[in-house]
């Protein structure tokens, strides 16, 4: 599996089939109650991003390959920054959009279906950029 389409399809399958109660329980056992991580970025590592990038209210953050919104939604909630989430698999972004609504982040988070190689933003749009194990 190597093409962008195959990788996107693999992630779409993961997002569609791993959104159950038992998966949430496994995530909590690995990372704690406040996290919804599929990969390897712990809450402490998310906090380190906030510290190193100086995230705070008014800062515009871009998360490339945002998946289901960990850690960019967590960072928006914790620091007050504005987050834009960009990724290719629609099911992951849909899950992130739903979580954003549940967490009351609607007006500070945006979602863009786009590859990191072709982002539809002008230069200097963002104050900070992250990605976490994105391909």
């Amino acid at each position: 599996m190597s093409s962008r389409r195959e990788v996107a399809g693999w992630f779409a399958h993961v997002y569609a089939t791993m959104d159950t109660e038992v998966h949430a329980l496994v995530q909590q056992e690995v990372f704690g109650r406040e996290a919804w991580v599929r990969g390897y970025t712990t809450p402490a590592q998310a906090d380190l991003l906030a510290e190193r990038l100086g995230l705070r209210p008014g800062v515009r953050l871009l998360d490339v390959g945002a998946g289901e919104g960990w850690p960019s939604l967590y960072l928006a909630k914790k620091t007050g920054c504005d987050s834009v989430l960009a990724d290719v698999p629609a099911p992951g972004l849909r899950n992130a959009l739903n979580r954003s609504g549940r967490d009351g982040l609607g007006d500070r988070c945006s979602f863009v279906l786009a590859s990191g190689a072709r982002l539809p933003f002008a230069p200097h749009t963002f104050d900070a950029v992250i990605h976490t194990d994105a391909l």
Partner: protein, 111 residues
């Protein structure tokens, strides 16, 4: 800019490289140039790498252990994917233990 990335370290034999590549998520491959070189060539400065491979191994093991504790419920939810994911987890843990995969935080600034 700050990002976490899993990568194949330099200096592996071809056999080790192939083993590392097979132990990753789809698409994982060494770029043949270090992340630092790539960042510098893109105009970034003040580049810093923080090695988090030890924590990467801890989390990879924790995933496998938690999934084993909930194996029956996960099998019901995932079907045949359960065994594939468990096998992938074991392969990844062994690859990290063998020094075939690393994970770091890179922080860089653009002037």
């Amino acid at each position: 800019m700050a990002f976490y990335t899993i990568y194949i370290p330099d200096g592996l034999s071809q056999t080790e490289y192939e083993r590392s590549r097979r132990a990753g998520a789809p698409g994982l491959a060494s770029l043949g140039r270090s992340q630092t070189e790539l960042l510098r060539s893109a105009g970034f400065e003040e580049i810093e790498e923080i090695d988090l491979t030890e924590e990467f191994l801890r989390v990879a093991r924790a995933w496998g252990e938690a999934r084993r504790r909930h194996a029956e419920a996960l099998k019901a939810a995932e079907g045949a994917d359960f065994d594939v994911r468990m096998r992938d987890n074991r392969t990844r843990v062994r690859a990290i233990e063998a020094g075939l995969q690393r994970r770091s935080l890179f922080v860089a600034r653009r002037p």
